[in-house]
């Protein structure tokens, strides 16, 4: 099956890639290997696995067969070379940054990101000297202006949280290539069904699998995907990948694992040393969710378009950020990268200001007022007082998350029911 995988359609691979009937029992679904340890054939094998001379399972924090099936599936769907599943999207970003950089290093990041990513970056700068330069991801020229010879990486989201803007990955990857730095793309809001960043020049992709990949809002997880495209060999800027590891008999990951060096480095440093492993039970549920990813994303987009269109014409609404609707300035770019739609997360700014926004959320009945996105249920939240509260207020307004803004994550319910709930809540709030 694995050889056929690359030749089969996306929907087929969403169901099958990375998995096969269990050779020991014939079980069709991937077993949930809730085990800490795995027996070794003999002491030589144990030593080989620990020394990286052999690939094998030793301890579930570092690798696990259920988790490995998830990793293979996401690798396949993204078109990467290898993945590392991890405890959360937040952990994924942390491990990526720390695998690439040390104190004193610098990188460029989109100024418009998930609030948790922004918070992490600021904290890493304050406490650990990882200097971040923010630039507007919707303006590639400003990213180019921010990059210097000290820049070690560029980090953007493919579809921006919370506004749903689609960034011009090709333009940004051209900048990354010119400066020979890896482009890291958080592909959470798109999923590989809508956008595959490697096809547009990304080098590393990561996800909060807690969102659309898992799909049902039940399990927290993250994944780092190596595109196998960046040339790490001999690049002294990235010593974990290009320099010898003293405690591993001087292995140089870029030489020992030429196609997967970054994935191996992030597993060794991120999981073996730092520790945020993912539960195999979470991996199982995430794998199961991915089986319906194509169906869900298509419906999420169709619903989001209908809802955004409806809201854009609503008298109580000042602005709708979803770009995939007629008349939106971002539509051409959004259609170019994601013709089915820019996912289903976007913001609505209310004419009635902060009070209207908070009252609106309180009046919603079908929508859940919750800190999550990308699940079967429709969700709403007030970013200014929650997810983006760490942003200075003047920056919030600029980033489109001022006090009058509500973030919506459109689910899979009947569009008519979603719209009816929004209408009644808008009416009650005005």
């Amino acid at each position: 099956m694995s050889d056929q995988c690359n030749k089969t359609g996306f929907a087929t691979r969403a169901v099958h890639a990375g998995a096969a009937p269990d050779p020991a029992t014939g079980a069709r679904t991937t077993p949930i290997y809730l085990t800490n340890g795995f027996v070794f054939d003999d002491p030589e094998e144990a030593a080989d696995i620990f020394a990286l001379r052999k690939i094998g399972f030793s301890y579930s924090r570092g690798s696990n067969p259920t988790t490995a099936a998830l990793e293979r599936r996401v690798t396949d769907l993204e078109g990467g070379t290898m993945s590392v599943a991890i405890g959360s999207g937040q952990a994924a970003l942390l491990v990526i940054l720390l695998t690439l950089m040390e104190s004193g290093d610098e990188y460029v990041a989109a100024s418009r990101l998930f609030g948790g990513s922004l918070g992490l970056m600021r904290r890493l700068e304050q406490r650990h000297g990882l200097k971040v330069h923010f630039a507007d991801p919707t303006d590639p020229a400003s990213i180019a202006a921010a990059v210097t010879e000290k820049t070690k990486a560029i980090v953007v989201e493919s579809i921006v949280n919370p506004c749903g803007s689609v960034v011009d990955l090709q333009a940004i990857s051209a900048i990354a290539r010119r400066h020979k730095v890896p482009l890291i793309v958080d592909n959470t809001l798109a999923s590989p069904y809508l956008i595959r960043p490697f096809e547009h020049g990304a080098d590393i992709v990561f996800h909060s699998t807690s969102k659309f990949l898992g799909g049902h809002g039940q399990v927290i997880g993250g994944i780092i995907v190596d595109g196998g495209s960046f040339d790490w060999a001999g690049d002294e800027r990235y010593p974990l990948i290009s320099a010898p590891w003293g405690d591993y008999e001087g292995i140089v990951l870029a030489e020992a694992f030429p196609k997967n060096a970054f994935a191996v480095a992030s597993r060794l440093y991120g999981l073996r040393d730092l520790g945020p492993g993912i539960s195999p039970a979470t991996a199982f549920l995430t794998l199961t969710g991915i089986e319906t990813l194509p169906l869900r994303m298509a419906r999420h987009c169709a619903n989001a378009k209908a809802v955004a269109q409806h809201l854009a014409a609503h008298p109580a609404v000042a602005e709708v950020s979803y770009p995939s609707i007629e008349g939106h300035p971002g539509k051409a770019l959004a259609d170019r990268y994601s013709p089915e739609g820019a996912g289903s997360v976007f913001t609505v700014a209310l004419k009635g200001g902060d009070t209207a926004a908070t009252r609106f959320i309180a009046e919603l009945k079908l929508f859940s007022h919750i800190a999550n996105i990308g699940e079967t249920r429709s969700l709403a939240i007030h970013p200014a007082t929650t997810t983006h509260r760490n942003m200075p207020p003047q920056e919030r307004a600029k980033a489109g998350v001022g006090g009058n803004v509500v973030r919506l994550s459109i689910g899979l319910e009947d569009a008519a029911d979603i719209i009816a709930d929004l209408d009644q809540a808008l009416a009650a709030a005005s």
Partner: protein
């Protein structure tokens, strides 16, 4: 919002569920507990005496399972439901609530092989006697009626695939005989077909299949349509007589239009025991959230695949009600216009050997005993699921030697067709 009837997609995600009142958790918690504390002795007594509803013990009921029960009852348009360990357990408990030793029931002969075996063999131990009828000839149902007949049992979209049963017509027969009609709606699911709308009284599911959808959990459901009048009907003592287990309570009177669901729980599940694991209920609930998307996709894909096979030189015949010209086409248009489901059969010109050979050469299709998975599945019923039947019974059940059954999953139809073509090529 209160006046609005939510659409099917909305119900598939929300019916029966709410944020957890204790913690705000949005997804249904997995209450992996055997037992529940009582407020006090009186509270405990009132729960045991069915004077109040509440949680006692997971063999009797469980909050995670309760969400599943409400969800499926809402989707089917029933009044209440009971979740149990398997489709087999659902059938068993449904009949247990209806039949006494010496009673008879009429069953369609177009059934899942496992149901046929259960009815023919295990039920003999209880003195329950099945009388077989042909859903393609309704007179066989009329002729099967005797004063001892207590129920009729059919499948809506029927095994081994490609059969549509005329529920409304059989319901008319059941109503004239004043007996309940039980419909196993596993292969259709309420997305394609809601049997209560056509006169069914009780609906059964193997939630293992399309409801759960991902092939990871065995579960069953009994759904009460709330339409049959049990009160005073001495033929159904579980529902009409004072129950000694509950201080002389008459379930049909106390619980009105959800009495049947209650009876299967407090008499059947409680005493016979096939409880559903809360973890399985959680996984089935998950699957149901994408039921509308999955059922539409697999029905559409199945039509594509069936059309391709119908014109394939190695194929003698295809039985799929979505195909124009199929004997059940107009019944399918009437009862399940959105689609005729994901399971169908076809016959190979090369007969038994060709069937076995095809199964072994398929690569994308999985050869296993299940239907209704995200993965496409294949089986040769004559040598597996219907193996224990006599040759005559096999043919009667539509599982003759040349028959291959497919259950189409979520893969791209082009990939499925490519796999079938390579496996069918000499």
């Amino acid at each position: 919002m209160a006046d609005r009837v939510p659409g099917f997609n909305t119900l598939a995600i929300h019916a029966g569920a709410q944020p957890d009142p204790a913690t705000g958790a949005r997804a249904t918690p997995i209450y992996q507990t055997t037992s529940f504390v009582f407020d006090d002795v009186d509270h405990a007594a009132s729960l045991f005496g069915l004077q109040a509803f509440g949680n006692i013990y997971t063999r009797i009921g469980n909050p995670t399972c309760a969400v599943l029960e409400e969800r499926v009852a809402a989707l089917e348009g029933g009044t209440a439901a009971l979740a149990v360990a398997s489709g087999h357990a659902a059938e068993f408990l449904a009949f247990h609530a209806l039949l006494q030793p010496g009673d008879e029931f009429i069953a369609s002969k177009k059934l899942y092989g496992g149901s046929i075996n259960q009815f023919n063999h295990s039920y003999k131990s209880f003195g329950w006697n099945v009388v077989w009828a042909d859903p393609d000839d309704l007179s066989t149902f009329e002729r099967a009626l005797t004063p001892k007949t207590k129920a009729i049992f059919v499948e809506s979209i029927a095994n081994p695939g490609g059969v549509i049963v005329d529920i409304a017509a059989i319901s008319a027969i059941a109503k004239r005989a004043n007996i309940p009609l039980i419909v196993d709606n596993t292969m259709a699911t309420p997305y394609l077909w809601r049997p209560f709308e056509h006169g069914a009284d009780i609906v059964i599911h193997s939630a293992t299949k399309f409801l759960g959808g991902h092939g990871n959990s065995i579960a069953g459901l009994i759904v009460d349509g709330g339409t049959f009048n049990w009160v005073g009907d001495e033929r159904y003592p579980m529902l009409s007589k004072p129950r000694p287990e509950y201080g002389g309570m008459v379930l049909g009177e106390t619980f009105g239009n959800f009495a049947f669901a209650i009876a299967t729980r407090v008499l059947g599940l409680r005493d016979l025991g096939p409880a559903l694991s809360p973890f399985n209920a959680f996984l089935i609930l998950n699957g149901i959230e994408t039921l509308p998307l999955r059922m539409q996709r697999v029905s559409d894909s199945t039509l594509t695949v069936a059309k391709h096979l119908a014109s394939h030189p190695a194929v003698a015949w295809v039985s799929y009600p979505g195909l124009e010209g199929d004997r059940y086409y107009s019944l399918a248009r009437r009862y399940c216009p959105k689609g005729a489901g994901a399971v169908f059969t076809f016959g190979l010109k090369g007969g038994y050997e060709a069937g076995v050979n095809l199964v072994s050469k398929l690569q994308l299709f999985s050869h296993l005993a299940n239907i209704g998975d995200t993965r496409s599945l294949v089986i040769h019923p004559a040598s597996t699921t219907h193996r224990q039947l006599s040759d005559e019974q096999k043919v009667a059940a539509g599982a003759g030697p040349d028959v291959v059954r497919l259950s189409i999953g979520l893969e791209d139809p082009a990939d499925l067709i490519a796999d079938l073509d390579q496996a069918l090529s000499a």
